[in-house]
């Protein structure tokens, strides 16, 4: 039996941004991909997302203060 880490209580929802969403995000914040927080390409939570280097992962976290927050991480090859 292999366990799916995305089902665990501690793991928030990860999803990959499309090229269009990615371009919009970078423009909105006026930054480049390199300036975002990172996530390793072999991170277990990325399983099944088919993520490549320089993709942006949207993390929908549960937050005690705001209910729900989004956070973005760029995929790096560590």
């Amino acid at each position: 039996m292999t366990f799916n880490p995305n089902k665990h209580r501690l793991v928030p929802k990860h999803s990959k941004l499309s090229d269009k969403e990615k371009a919009k995000l970078l423009e909105d914040y006026g930054i480049t991909v390199k300036e975002l927080p990172k996530i390793l390409i072999n991170d277990v939570a990325l399983e099944g997302l088919d993520a490549n280097e320089a993709d942006i992962i949207k993390v929908t976290r549960h937050s005690i203060t705001a209910g729900e927050t989004v956070y973005y991480r760029s995929v790096i090859n560590g």
């Binding site: 366990f3 793991v11 928030p12 996530i39 991170d43 993390v59 729900e68 790096i76 560590g78």
Partner: protein, 381 residues
């Protein structure tokens, strides 16, 4: 509440966080008019915008003080509660330091294992499961080792009681021992296992060496789980363990994998990913803070956890971790081991662009925080 009102409130979703939206929906009276509702929402939106941190605010130092000051009030060492059958855990300041330093080996790794529905109600089933996962080594079930140097033999007499309680047979133990002792001949007789050295008869240390090795052979359970304790939590039973092995426990069919927790953050990082590690850092720190009766705003812990996890791997708040990521040589040097940083930087000709706070304080210049952040642009006549 009327449907149109609900939809109207939902229109503020892009302006207000979801938690506030649900709170508004709960508290607004049902007979409110649309004009009043608009006023309420605008008022709330105004308050929310005002409560936001302004750009240029030094959130880092605010967090540092907000965590540091209550930290001085903490009891320095763990309480020892006499006669309480709980697993001993590090709390207080030592635990806090352990988390923030992101130590690889923590003092008291611990797990809380929840089981799936048919297993978690029956105390016998729980006890059985607990016995299954506890790591047992050969050394614990042998009642006597006897070494015969003349004949180069080692005799293990297994304890009948332990074998029975673990539901094991002598042959099964012998099989496991045999796999690890290739240079010995093995014979089984009753609950005695005899090992005879195959090589030359003048090497005494072989027999002694193998004795220590055999003691450490795992016969049952999961590596790293040293102690188990089934306890009742509300309606169900959970198993607390001393020692942690998240990866292997998650593979077991009886466990409720979604709820299992461990206090070993590095293990969480490896098994569940960086986001889970961030969440775990926050939870572990707030556990310590609450157990000490202190009150630290969750936002400060979020900031620290975010900084520790920003690079995709967990980095401790140490000179090897987050401080080593600073771009400024002088900022790094001002933290710890200044000479090393300055020498290293001068060897490779590193440049300090003075973009952050510490280095500008050192040079007696305005810092890029608050009103020091924006530059002024003037039109010259």
């Amino acid at each position: 509440m009327k449907k149109e009102h609900e939809e109207f409130i939902d229109g503020y979703k892009s302006k207000l966080p979801p938690k506030i939206i649900t709170e508004i929906k709960e508290h607004v009276p049902t007979n409110v008019t649309k004009a009043k509702l608009t006023k309420i929402l605008e008022e709330i939106h105004g308050i929310y915008e005002n409560a936001k941190i302004h750009s240029g605010e030094g959130v880092g130092i605010v967090s540092a003080e907000s965590i540091g000051e209550p930290g001085t009030q903490m009891t320095l060492n763990t309480f020892h509660l006499a006669g309480v059958a709980e697993v001993q855990v590090t709390t207080g300041l030592p635990r806090l330091i352990e988390i923030f330093d992101s130590r690889r080996a923590i003092k008291t790794p611990m797990m809380e294992i929840h089981l799936k529905s048919p297993h978690n109600k029956n105390i016998d089933k729980i006890k059985n499961f607990a016995a299954q996962i506890k790591e047992t080594k050969v050394g614990e079930i042998v009642s006597e080792f006897s070494v015969n140097l003349l004949e180069q033999t080692l005799k293990l007499i297994l304890s009948k009681d332990s074998l029975e309680s673990l539901n094991l047979k002598t042959e099964e133990v012998a099989k496991l021992v045999k796999a690890k002792t290739k240079s010995f001949n093995l014979t089984v007789e009753g609950d005695e296992i005899t090992l005879t050295y195959k090589g030359k008869s003048d090497e005494i240390k072989e027999v002694y060496g193998i004795k220590e090795k055999i003691k450490l052979i795992k016969i049952k359970g999961i590596k790293g789980i040293h102690q188990v304790l089934p306890v009742k939590r509300g309606e169900e039973y959970v198993v607390l363990t001393a020692g942690s092995n998240l990866k292997e426990i998650l593979e077991l069919p009886e466990v409720d994998a979604e709820k299992i927790s461990t206090n070993n953050i590095n293990e969480i990082e490896a098994v569940l990913g960086i986001e889970a590690a961030r969440q775990a850092i926050m939870e572990e720190v707030s556990k310590v803070v609450e157990s000490q009766g202190l009150n630290i705003d969750a936002r400060h812990l979020m900031l620290v956890a975010d900084i520790m996890c920003v690079g995709g791997v967990v980095k401790g708040v140490t000179r090897y971790g987050v401080v080593s990521e600073k771009t400024s040589v002088m900022a790094r040097a001002s933290f710890e081991t200044p000479l090393k940083h300055i020498v290293d930087a001068s060897l490779v000709g590193e440049r300090d662009r003075l973009t952050s706070v510490v280095e500008n304080v050192m040079l007696n210049q305005p810092i890029p925080l608050g009103t020091g952040l924006p530059g002024l642009v003037t039109k010259m006549k």
